[in-house]
């Protein structure tokens, strides 16, 4: 009886715990996407994370012109989808850098790039 109960408890426990730890929150997709080649300046920067995060830093840098000023303030509300308006961008190679605070309290960061060419 005791043996059977023990086996049942162990089996149930294994089921409950067997879900291997989910990976840290990460950027699932963005617009512009990583490596995108655009012909028009995007109106907004959209970030889609795997789980709700607090966006702590975001910056946009053009390879030769340097930092592009963004209207960004870190917020206390955790969101999965974050959209930031962008100013009209000149042609160039841009890199977006982001830092988030995940629901697990971890600091996560990443970068992605896109190209904007105005040639027709």
């Amino acid at each position: 009886m005791f043996k059977k109960s023990l086996i049942k408890i162990l089996a149930l426990s294994t089921l409950l715990f067997s879900a291997a730890l989910s990976a840290h929150t990460h950027l699932e997709s963005s617009a512009p996407a990583d490596g995108a080649q655009l012909s028009q300046s995007p109106e907004a920067l959209q970030l889609h994370f795997s789980k709700a995060v607090r966006l702590m830093h975001v910056s946009l840098e053009e390879k030769s012109a340097g930092q592009v000023k963004l209207a960004f303030m870190p917020g206390a509300v955790a969101e999965k989808d974050i959209s930031l308006p962008l100013p009209a961008l000149e042609a160039g190679e841009y890199t977006v850098s982001w830092v988030t605070l995940g629901g697990d309290g971890h600091k996560m960061s990443g970068k992605f790039s896109f190209k904007l060419s105005t040639e027709k």
Partner: protein
């Protein structure tokens, strides 16, 4: 730099938490009345005050890490406000309250109000241990993993925090008191250690997905070092329980050395745990 500072503050916090949980319980249960005041003033109250300060320091270090503007960033009001509203803030607040409750329990021990002290100790332990599942690698995993981690941390704190008062008891106590305290602690520890190992193995399995990554990743190998040290600690504890305590008082000096070695090993294990949970991850 911030992550290393956070890991070190966590290490010291684990020590303070061990004093608050394991130290208070041991002083309450096995320390003779005449030595309680000494233990409260030299060990329990400093531990609780250090814990209170370290809870706040840990939060400010995290603020500094996110603000990314040097040391002054630790006090950036925008990032402080965000962190305060995140799990980091809840952990700091709850553990601070836990240290206050543990400090009050220690003060009640000074006034020989052991029953009220026991109630406050229970509250303190709950407040100090609950937050273990609120952040870190276990926070977003299975819902039972948080309580398992709290239990694991609680037993470890009970064990490691008990060592200093037991060492003092062994040096200053009467042979009858030493034997009584060590035997009771040994009996309780046997059950608790089994639970500690069970919870630890469970958490490990959930974090890694299987036991294979233990030898396939740097995180796993670092965990192996921790397990090895825990193994040595268990051997020392077993030696105390089955060889040295039954031969007391002839083995008093050897028992003292053994407990001192356990304290050192415990501190190294806590340091490794703080580094593992801050600087490395299971992925």
């Amino acid at each position: 730099m911030w992550e290393t500072a956070f890991a070190l503050s966590k290490w010291l916090l684990y020590g303070a938490l061990s004093a608050a949980i394991g130290g208070t319980a041991t002083v309450q249960l096995w320390i003779p009345s005449g030595d309680v005041a000494n233990q409260v003033k030299r060990y329990l109250l400093p531990g609780c005050i250090a814990g209170l300060l370290l809870s706040a320091i840990g939060l400010f270090i995290q603020v500094g890490a996110f603000a990314e503007s040097g040391l002054s960033g630790m006090f950036d009001p925008v990032y402080l406000s965000i962190l305060w509203q995140s799990p980091a803030g809840s952990v700091a607040l709850t553990q601070s309250l836990g240290f206050v409750a543990a400090g009050l329990a220690a003060l009640l021990l000074l006034r020989r109000q052991r029953r009220s002290a026991a109630v406050l100790w229970l509250l303190a332990a709950t407040l100090l241990l609950l937050p273990f599942g609120w952040r870190g690698h276990t926070a977003e995993a299975s819902p039972l993993l948080g309580p398992a981690l709290s239990l694991h941390a609680g037993i470890a704190a009970l064990w490691i925090g008990a060592l200093y008062p037991l060492w003092c008891l062994n040096r200053n106590g009467e042979p009858r008191q030493i034997r009584h305290g060590m035997e009771q602690f040994g009996r309780l520890a046997a059950w608790l250690v089994a639970l500690l190992v069970f919870c630890g193995a469970w958490i490990l399995y959930a974090l890694l997905g299987s036991f294979a990554p233990l030898v396939q990743s740097s995180y796993g190998l670092a965990l192996c070092v921790k397990l090895l040290l825990v193994g040595v600690l268990l051997l020392l504890a077993a030696q105390n329980k089955w060889r040295l305590v039954p031969q007391l008082p002839a083995t008093t000096a050897r028992l003292s050395r053994s407990i001192r070695a356990e304290i050192l090993l415990g501190a190294i294990i806590l340091l490794l745990t703080a580094l593992l949970s801050t600087l490395m991850g299971p992925e």
